[in-house]
Structures are given as C-alpha cells and as structure tokens.
C-alpha cells in the first residue's frame, strides 16, 4: 500500500461518504416525526429504502477509494484553550471496506425484519432504533479522530442497549440490556483512558497525526515504553468489551433476548466487529508484548466459547458463542500480526454468521407458529424440540448448510480462505518461538475442529431426524409453511457472499483474495513454505470425520462418547460459571460497598455533623449545669441551708437575689486572689 497521503478535495467521495452515513440518520429522524397514520408499515419500507441507497453510495465509494489514496477531510469542531479539535471523515481501505459490509448486511436484515416484525405492535419504534444503529455504526467507521470515534462507539453501545431491551416488558430482556450497556461501559472506560494517554503526550485526537497513516506508527517519540503498553492494553480493553472477548463476553449470550433480526445485524456482523475494527484502526499503538496478550486472550476466548457452544441447547446461544469464538479468531489474528487475514475473516464471518442468525430466526419463527397453534409451552428457541425441519423449510435448510460450511472453513467457501489464512500465519508466527508459543496455533486448530463439531451438532439436531415433538404429541405433523419471500431473498443474497468466488478466483490460496491484498503491509513478502499446504489439508481432512462423528452421535445415537453429564459437561453447560461469578461476586460486591458507604455516610459523616450539633447543645448544657450546681452547692454549704437543698433552683437563676450577690462576691474575690498570685 504505497499510496501517499494527500489532502485533495475529493468532493464527490466526501459527498458519497456523507450520504452513506447520513441516510440512515435521516430515516431515524423522519420515522421519529412521521405521524402514525401515513402508512401503517411505512417506516419499515422507508428505512429499508434509505439503507438501500446508503448501500449503493458505499459501493460507489468503495469503487472510488479502494486501493487508492485515502481521503481525509475535516472541519474545526471546537477549540479548548489553545488546542483545536477537528471533526472529519477518513476514508481509507479499512473504512471503505466496512461501509458496504455494514450497509449490505443492514439491508438484508431490514428486508428480513419487515417480515419478521410484521405483527409486532411497536413496529415503528423498531425501525427507528435500527436506522439509528446503522447511522452510528457507519459514522464510527468513517470518523477521523479518536474523540469522535469514542462518541460513536458509545452511541453504538446505546443503540444495542435500546434494541436488546426492545421488548422492555420482558424482565430478562431488561436485565440483559442493562448488563450489556454496563459491560460496554467498562470497555469504554478503557478506550477513554487510552485516548487520554495519547492526548496527554501528543495533544491531539486526530488519527492522521497520531498514527500518520499510512506509514506505520514510528512517532512513538516521547511516549515512554510503559505508557505505550498501558495505552495498548486500554485500547484492547475497549475492544474486548465490544467484541465480547474473554473477561467481558458474558453480555453477548444474554443479548439474545432481543429480536433475532437484531442479533443478526448487531451481535453477529456489525457491532461486535467494531472491536476488531478499533484494533485495526489503532493497530500501530500495540507493541510486541501487547500483541502477545491480545493473541493469548483471543485464542483463549475462541477455545472457551467453542467448548461452551458444544453443550448449549438454545439455538441462538450456540450461535452467540460461535460468534465469540470466531471473534476470538480475529483478535488472535490481530495479535499475531495477521492484520490483513483478520479483517478478511471479519468480512467473511459477517456474512455467514448473519446468514446463520437469519435462518435461526426463520426456524424460531416457525416454532413460534407451531407453539401458538398447538399452544404447547415449549421454548421456541430450544433445539431439543426441533428436528426434521429440512422438509418444512427447504430454502432455509440450503442457506443454513452453506453458512455452516463457511463457518467450518470448508474448501470452496469464503470461510475457508479467511480461516486458513489465520491458521497458516499463526503457524508461521509460532515457528521460531519457544514451545509455549506453539500452543497458540494448536489451540486455534482445536477450536476450528470444535466449531465444526458444534455447528454440525446444531444442523443435525435441527434439520435431520424426526421432530422431537412427535414423542410429545404423536399426532403432530409438519405441514409445509410457505417460506415468506422476504425471508428467503435476503438469505439467498447473503449466501452468495459465503462462497469463494466473490472474494478470490482461486478457491484455495487465500493470498489471491483481493480483500487480503488490500490490507497487506507494504513489506509483506510471499513466503512459500510447507505450512501453506499442510495446514489446509490437515484441517479439512480432520473436519470430515468430526462432522461424521457429530452425525453419528446425534442422528442414529450409536456412539455414546459424549455423555450428557460429567464435570466437563456441567462446566461447559453453564458458561464456565463466569456469569454466576460476575453476578454474585462483582455486581453484588459493588452494590454491597455502595450500601456500606451509604450506611457509613448516614451514621458517621451525618452522625458526625449531628454529633457536632449535639456537642454544641451539650456544651451549653454543661456551661449551664456548671453555673447551676457547682456554685449553688458551695453557697448552700457555706450558708448551712440544709433545707434549701430540697428546693434546688432549676436554673442558676435561682431567683434568690442573695445568691446572685454572693456569686458576684465570689467572682470578685477570685479575681482578687488571682491578682495576688501573679
């Protein structure tokens, strides 16, 4: 990428980019203002049209800017003291790739959800939030400075909060979106601290000046080593929250409470990819040891998510964990330096994962119908009640198969190109290193096999064999429901992208993919070595028996290898107890400290103040008491007025003039004596 950076006034590109970004926002505003009565389903149509146009613009933009000079345009946003803060657009390969990707998937999901949400009474609100999300995501992709990026980063989190909690009357949905937002918030804090560190040293937010694209980040000038690492970790923390990496991943499975179309768009393709996008954007910040941390976290997440996905019964939960594990792949790829293949995988993954979710949506939709018709109390998302759906939903079945193959990384699919790219570069990366480093590629390998296993388990459980409902209701009979056109078309549209031709002509060699070439670092040299051949072969050869194994296990149950019990199963089944750990340790402890501090505040500080008030009163009482009793006692004693003791005057003002006179005399004598002493 030897393009030199020049500031030309590419007015046409800028207008295209602005149009692409602002169209969904226009949709959001107009939906908001449009009175209810115009067209009862008008909003859906309107925002779909807008997203369509924005797709067209981004494709045109893609054509104009891909592999050419990045365009940067900015305008003064505001000035603090002497520092000027600019806001603008940065269109380089990365952003230009992401634009069509996001709008393409968004279009598919829009069409899909017109049908999917058809009978939902809050239809208008759904499309408002959806177009708001698209606007935020697109803006995030093109923004040119860290502050603006952070702003849209949080807005994306906010949009996902709205969409997860869309059916806000459902208690679980509301819990989920609160959790999601707070988890993202933790990530945002990391992101903010990262920005602060960079700002502290360079006094600017602009990505250009910071990382002076496209040459790599050499200006780590006065940013001392330790601060660089801390900044790197903070940015990575931001990415982990958004892309649901290991410590902060528990919100994604719960986010499945939202409508499936939402999960398809947000929790499969776009938002979760934002984390990886951030890593790509600020890639120069990471120095080698931070990259190592990223790799470790990435691989571990991938492996962990894959193991959990093995035993889940909820259809969407499995897909959620598979997303986490695929994201783990991408993050690991970023860590080992395979920048280009990680983004390649991001693009391909977006398509087939969205496709998987959409098909899952159709299945759940179908199960919902059955449930209502026969008013069974089964959970429509639980795969244990499904089975034999291939006859009922043929097209979904085909698209699902394609997507699954892409996910496994079966040759001829786009997944193969991107996943194997990562695998090969992982092995190259680990080649010279000590034994520990070798673990990384091995783990990645194991994870890809596990992926193959759980996705095939899903397929066989859902599509093959007889419907489990039969055991419950013998008379149950599927009757083929006409698959709604609005479902099938987007799915087919997406499945096209899952196959290899779109990305590269030669199905086997990932280097030839145009997308891969777009991101290659200038000094990338073709390293022909044995890995190129062994790894892909090994992976595919082993996936075949794994798939067969899953087939054998679940369809004709002749292999009892995978007991439904045992420690491992339980560990994996309840998400490695991480969620419970978070729930009853961290969440509870924070609230507990809150309560304790409040109690402290109430009794100690407030108490202290009341204490001071009381002390004030007590002092006055003591001074009063002192006046009354000490002197009064002496008087009686001297005057032998025994019977007076009975009538102790309440106040010093005993009313007896003589006592006043006496106290006066005593006072004068005391002064007199005092005078003598000095």
């Amino acid at each position: 990428m030897e393009q030199i950076y020049t500031l030309q006034t590419h007015s046409s590109e800028i207008q295209l980019a602005l149009a692409a970004v602002l169209l969904p926002f226009a949709a959001f505003i107009i939906n908001f203002l449009l009175p209810k009565t115009v067209l009862n389903k008008g909003e859906g149509l309107f925002s779909t049209v807008c997203i369509l146009f924005s797709l067209i613009c981004s494709c045109l933009l893609f054509a104009k800017v891909w592999a050419r000079k990045p365009i940067h345009e900015q305008v003064l946003w505001f000035q603090i003291g002497t520092i000027k803060i600019y806001a603008g657009l940065l269109l380089n390969n990365l952003s230009v790739l992401m634009l069509p990707l996001v709008s393409g998937i968004a279009l598919a999901v829009h069409i899909y959800s017109v049908a999917y949400m058809h009978d939902d009474l809050m239809f208008r609100r759904y499309f408002r939030y959806l177009s708001f999300f698209c606007f935020a995501m697109m803006a995030l992709v093109v923004s040119d400075n860290l502050l603006l990026m952070y702003a849209f980063w949080e807005l994306v989190g906010f949009a996902s909060y709205l969409l997860i909690g869309f059916w806000f009357t459902r208690e679980k949905a509301v819990q989920a979106n609160k959790k999601a937002f707070i988890m993202n918030r933790i990530g945002d804090i990391g992101f903010l601290i990262g920005i602060m560190i960079l700002f502290a040293h360079f006094h600017t937010f602009d990505l250009i000046t910071l990382f002076n694209y496209p040459t790599n980040f050499s200006s780590s000038g006065n940013l001392s080593g330790t601060w660089l690492i801390v900044a790197g970790i903070c940015f990575f923390l931001g990415a982990t929250a958004k892309s649901a990496q290991f410590p902060l991943h528990t919100w994604l499975p719960d986010a499945m409470e939202g409508p499936t179309s939402v999960s398809a768009l947000i929790h499969a393709a776009t938002m979760v990819a934002a984390g990886v996008f951030l890593l790509a954007r600020v890639y120069p910040v990471f120095n080698p040891d931070v990259k190592l941390i990223i790799t470790i976290v990435g691989t571990f997440t991938a492996f962990m998510a894959a193991t959990i996905a093995l035993t889940q019964n909820d259809l969407k939960k499995i897909l959620a964990y598979s997303t986490i594990s695929q994201l783990g792949f991408m993050v690991a790829a970023m860590g080992i330096g395979a920048y280009a293949s990680s983004l390649f995988h991001l693009a391909t993954h977006a398509f087939f994962k969205c496709l998987l979710f959409l098909s899952a949506g159709v299945i759940i939709h179908e199960m919902q119908h059955i449930k209502e018709k026969l008013h069974l109390d089964i959970d429509p998302q639980n795969i244990l009640y499904m089975g034999g759906l291939r006859k009922v939903l043929p097209i979904t079945f085909i698209t699902c198969i394609i997507a699954a193959l892409a996910l496994i990384g079966f040759p001829l699919t786009s997944g193969y190109l991107s996943k194997d790219g990562i695998l090969i570069q992982a092995f190259e990366w680990a080649e010279g290193r000590s034994f520990l480093y070798q673990l990384i590629p091995i783990f990645i390998l194991i994870t890809s096999w596990l992926t193959a296993f759980y996705i095939s388990r899903l397929l066989f459980k859902v599509f093959w064999g007889e419907s489990r409902l039969k055991e419950m209701i013998p008379t149950f009979e599927y009757h083929p429901s006409k698959e709604n056109k609005l479902f099938t078309w987007p799915m087919l549209f997406l499945s096209v992208f899952c196959l290899f031709p779109f990305f590269s002509l030669n199905p086997l060699l990932y280097e030839h993919a145009w997308l891969f070439r777009g991101f290659l670092a200038a000094d990338y040299f073709e390293r022909e070595n044995i890995y190129h051949t062994i790894i892909p072969a090994a992976v595919n050869l082993i996936t075949v028996p794994v798939v067969y194994l899953a087939y054998a296990r679940y369809i004709n149950q002749n292999i009892k290898w995978f007991p439904e019990s045992g420690f491992l199963f339980r560990l994996s089944y309840n998400h490695w107890y991480i969620d419970q750990f978070y729930q009853n340790y961290i969440a509870k402890s924070v609230v507990w400290t809150g309560r304790k501090i409040y109690a402290f505040d109430l009794f100690v500080i407030d108490g202290l103040v009341n204490l001071i008030a009381k002390v004030g009163l007590i002092i006055s009482q003591i001074s009063n008491w002192l006046d009354k009793y000490i002197i009064d006692g002496a008087v009686n004693f001297i005057a032998f007025r025994i019977r007076d003791i009975g009538s102790f005057a309440r106040g010093f003002q005993t009313g007896k003039v003589q006592q006043y006179l006496l106290t006066m005399l005593i006072f004068i004598l005391s002064i007199y004596i005092f005078k003598i002493l000095i």
């Binding site: 003064l76 946003w77 505001f78 000035q79 603090i80 003291g81 002497t82 520092i83 502050l147 952070y150 702003a151 849209f152 949080e154 807005l155 906010f158 909690g165 806000f168 009357t169 459902r170 208690e171 509301v174 819990q175 979106n177 609160k178 937002f181 707070i182 918030r185 933790i186 804090i189 903010l192 601290i193 920005i195 602060m196 560190i197 700002f199 502290a200 040293h201 006094h203 924070v590 609230v591 400290t593 809150g594 309560r595 304790k596 501090i597 409040y598 109690a599 505040d601 500080i605 407030d606 103040v609 008030a613």
Partner: protein
C-alpha cells in the same frame, strides 16, 4: 447599554416588590408574574451571552478593564476616624467564567418557575422569596467586589431557609436549619478573611483599602507587612495566606459540596419542594464551584498550586463516594442528590488540575450539570406531584403508562451518565483529560486520579441504568394500585415546555461545544497563566 447587568440583577427585585403590593385576591396571577420576571431575565442574559466579545483582550480574570458590561459606583464610604475611609463600591462585571453560568441560571430559573405550579399554599410569600433568591444568585455571579459578593452569598441563605422550611417535605425544619447552619458556619469565617484581606490590599487609584477582588489578585496592591501580604506572615503558626485559602475553600466546599461537608445536600434536596430543589441543584452548587475559581484560585494562586494534589484527591473522593452512595439509595430524589455530589466531584477534579482542558471541562460540567440536574429534579417532581411518593421500589414498568415521560427520563439519565452527543460527555471527558495531562504538563495531579475519576463514570452508568430498569421497564406493578395508575398521567403541555429547552440545551452543547468553549477559552487561558 452599560446598565444591563444592574438591570439583570434587580429585575426580580422589581417584580418582587410589585408582587408584594398586589392584593392576595389575585393569587393565581403571581406565578405568571414570576414567570414574566424570569423570562425577561432569560432574554437579557441571552442578549448578554450573544454580545459577549471573545478574544485575547477580553480574558478578564485579573485585568479589571477587560471585564465586560462592568459597572462601578461607590456604594459605602464609611470614614473610620484614624483609619481613613472604608471604601466599598458596587462593582459588577462579567467575564468568561460567569457569562455561561449567568445564562444557565436564568434558564434554570424559568424552569423552576414552571415547576412551582404545584405550590398551593401562601403563593405570595413563595414567589416573593423566590424572586429574592433569584436576585441574590444572579448577583453572586456578577459581583466583583468581595463585600458585594459576600452580601449576595449570604442573601441566598435566607430565602432558601424559608422556602425549604415552609413548603418542604416532612422533616423540613431539620433540613432547613441544617442547611442554614452549615453554610453560615462556612461564611462567618469567610467574613473574617474578607476583612483581613480588606486591610491588606490598597486600591492603587484611591490609595485607601478596598474590597475589590481584582485588586486583591495582583500582589502589587498588598500593603507591606499586612496579614495576607505575600511576605508570608504567620497566623497561629500556619502561613496566613494558606490559612485564608483553606478557610475560603471550606466555605465554598460546603456549597460545592465536597464529600466531608456534603451531608446537608441530600436532606435539603429531599425535603425541598421541586422548584426549590431545582434551583438548589441547578444553580447553588455552581456558586460553590464559581466561588472557588473566582475567589480562592485567583486571589491565592500559589497556595492553590501547592494544595492542588489535595484538591484533586477531594474531587476523586467525592466522585467515587457520591456514586457509591447513589447506588445504595431507595429514594429517587436522594439518589439524584448523591449523583450531583458525584458529578460536582468532576468539577473539583478539573479545577484542581489547573490545565486549560481541565478548567474548561469543569466550567462546561457546571453548565451541563446545571441543565441536567434541573431536568432530573423536574422529572422527579412530576412523579411526586402525582402520587406523592418517591420510593423507587413502589414503581415498576412506568414506560407503558407514561411513554412521553419515559422518553424524557431516558434522555436525562443517559445525558447525565455521559452518553456522547450530550454536554456531560464533553465536560467529563475533558475534565478527566485535563486531570490526566496535568501529570505531564504541570505535574500537579498523578495520573491515577483521572483513572479513578473515570470509574466514577462507570458507577454513574450503573445506578442510572439500575433505576431506569427498576422503575420504568418490566410489567407495570404499582404499589399504589389502581388510583396510582389513574394518577400517573403523562406529561402535560407545561411540563413538556419546561423539559424540552433543557434537553435541547444539553444536546446542542453536546454537539456544538464551541458555543461554550469559545466564550470561556480566553478567561481559562488567563487563569492558567495566573498559576504559572
């Protein structure tokens, strides 16, 4: 043109007098009169804000001639026998710091009047005191003569004591007298320091002592050997100047409020009627912050630099302490009160960093918190006026019942937890950035303070979302049953007309912070220059 500020300060007094003369029979006309007063004030301060020139020559922290709309006329000239003349003059002016606060407080006043529709008893007394408070508040922001500043500062206490005391909630006496004693305790010692300063500063023009804050700023005016002259006199063993700084800081810290001295805030807010708690949160907390900037920092800059670490520490403590406390609250208004403590902690942190970003972030936070806390308290008031209950656990699923109300609540909650696109995000981000950069720029605050501050943002997200989820989402189950369900009607026109401007202001300042920053940049630069 030049008497605008005096007009701005005394319009409420005028309207108040007119109101007092009206017979009690015109009861319901009082609130419209008060509304008219505050709207006139809003127009005036808007005009002032618009005509406020910016540019290097208008920074105006320690240059008297750079203050805009300044007016100076001699008010009291007591001749004290041997001691020469005690010269106090009515010196009023506006610079970068106070112009924003002026506009914000007049807008908050309009909203407060709109919120006081619910007051039913003794309207005449209420609105008279309200307008008196309004005058005092505006006066504090414009006063540049320490004596005038002190008079307006004390004048605020009296109406508030009665407003909380007579129209407040159940424990109103306790809250009112606690509030009064707290602030008075701070201000009595401030009086002593003020007189001490008076005796150590001479006005270059007239030669005799002066209360003029600007003269107090440059050391040239200090009489040799006077208590607070820079030749570090000692008082009880401590250097006099730092003792004065601490005393002044305590007086304003009570107002801000900074943690150890904050216990009056929750009581005062919970017991005060909605209109009063809007002013209390929206404007009075800013007086503390503004006071620290105008009085403590400008008159004793070198002491401020020396003590910056402790100020920063106090700021961080109040952020975390306020947020953690808010987590444990069950009464909605008390929760918002503690959240104000936490948000004002950012202001202190930003100010303590003494960097341009930090201080402008702090001033921005004061403005944005003004709008947002006014909005929050107004919203709580709306519930309270309908069902007279603020206990969070009694409400569930209000979103279904009051959709428009929930939209505004969500805007307010998300704005105050710092969602980008709203002003609080810019303010808190830049206060933290200021605090962070201060480690490298002037080495005052260590970096970990900004990190702890950012945890505050996280906690604020936690308690706001918890409340949102607890009260608004889920199935509607009200502890008050059917009659509550009937009572909880959605927003009427008046309430909407009060909330919309606040939401809009927060949004506009979030998207176009240049509106605020252009005005305050020069003054902040001058202030930072003062510290070097």
């Amino acid at each position: 043109m030049d008497h605008l500020l005096t007009l701005l300060i005394f319009t409420p007094l005028l309207f108040g007098i007119v109101l007092l003369l009206l017979p009690v029979s015109l009861r319901n006309s009082f609130k419209y009169l008060a509304l008219a007063a505050t709207i006139v004030q809003l127009v005036l301060s808007g005009w002032l804000y618009f005509h406020f020139q910016t540019g290097a020559s208008f920074s105006g922290i320690n240059h008297a001639e750079q203050y805009q709309f300044a007016e100076k006329l001699s008010w009291i000239s007591l001749s004290l026998g041997s001691m020469g003349k005690m010269q106090i003059d009515y010196f009023v002016g506006v610079d970068g710091l106070s112009i924003g606060l002026l506009f914000m407080s007049s807008l908050v006043m309009v909203v407060a009047v709109l919120a006081s529709w619910e007051i039913k008893t003794n309207l005449k007394g209420f609105f008279a005191l309200f307008l008196l408070l309004d005058m005092a508040v505006i006066g504090v922001f414009c006063a540049l003569d320490f004596f005038l500043f002190y008079i307006f500062y004390e004048l605020m206490l009296l109406p508030l004591y009665f407003l909380i005391g007579m129209w407040g909630g159940v424990r109103r006496e306790y809250a009112a007298i606690k509030f009064f004693l707290y602030t008075l305790f701070g201000s009595v010692f401030m009086l002593l320091v003020m007189i001490g300063l008076y005796f150590s500063v001479t006005d270059p023009a007239t030669g005799n002592h002066t209360f003029n804050i600007i003269h107090m700023m440059n050391p040239a005016n200090y009489v040799q050997g006077s208590i607070f002259s820079t030749a570090h006199q000692t008082l009880f063993g401590f250097p006099a100047r730092s003792l004065a700084f601490v005393v002044l800081f305590i007086a304003f810290a009570i107002k801000v409020p900074v943690v150890p001295l904050h216990t009056w805030l929750p009581d005062a807010h919970v017991e005060a009627p909605t209109a009063v708690s809007i002013i209390l949160a929206g404007v009075l907390l800013k007086v503390g912050g503004y006071g620290i900037l105008r009085v403590c920092f400008s008159i004793f800059p070198e002491v401020a630099t020396a003590g910056a670490f402790w100020l920063g520490l106090l700021g961080v403590i109040s952020i975390l302490y306020g947020a953690l406390n808010a987590l444990a609250q069950t009464d909605l208004k008390r929760l918002i009160a503690y959240s104000s403590v936490s948000h004002m902690g950012f202001v202190l942190l930003g100010i303590a960093s003494q960097t341009t970003e930090g201080i402008s972030g702090a001033v921005m936070q004061m403005l944005s918190h003004g709008f947002l806390s006014a909005m929050l308290f107004f919203l709580v008031g709306i519930i309270y006026v309908r069902v007279h209950d603020r206990y969070i656990y009694n409400f569930r699923g209000l979103a279904k019942l009051m959709p428009a109300f929930t939209v505004f609540v969500m805007i307010a909650f998300f704005a105050s937890l710092g969602l980008p696109g709203f002003s609080a995000f810019i303010a808190e981000a830049f206060s933290l950035i200021g605090a962070f950069t201060s480690a490298s720029v002037n080495g005052l605050l260590p970096a970990w303070m900004a990190v702890c501050g950012s945890i505050g943002i996280l906690l604020s997200a936690a308690y706001f979302l918890w409340t949102l989820q607890r009260m608004f989402f889920g199935e509607t189950r009200l502890s008050g049953g059917e009659n509550w369900r009937a009572a909880l009607t959605d927003l009427n026109f008046r309430e909407k007309s009060a909330l919309i401007p606040l939401a809009l202001m927060a949004l506009i300042m979030g998207i176009l912070p240049s509106l605020v920053f252009d005005k305050i940049n020069d003054s902040v630069l001058a202030l930072v220059h003062l510290f070097r």
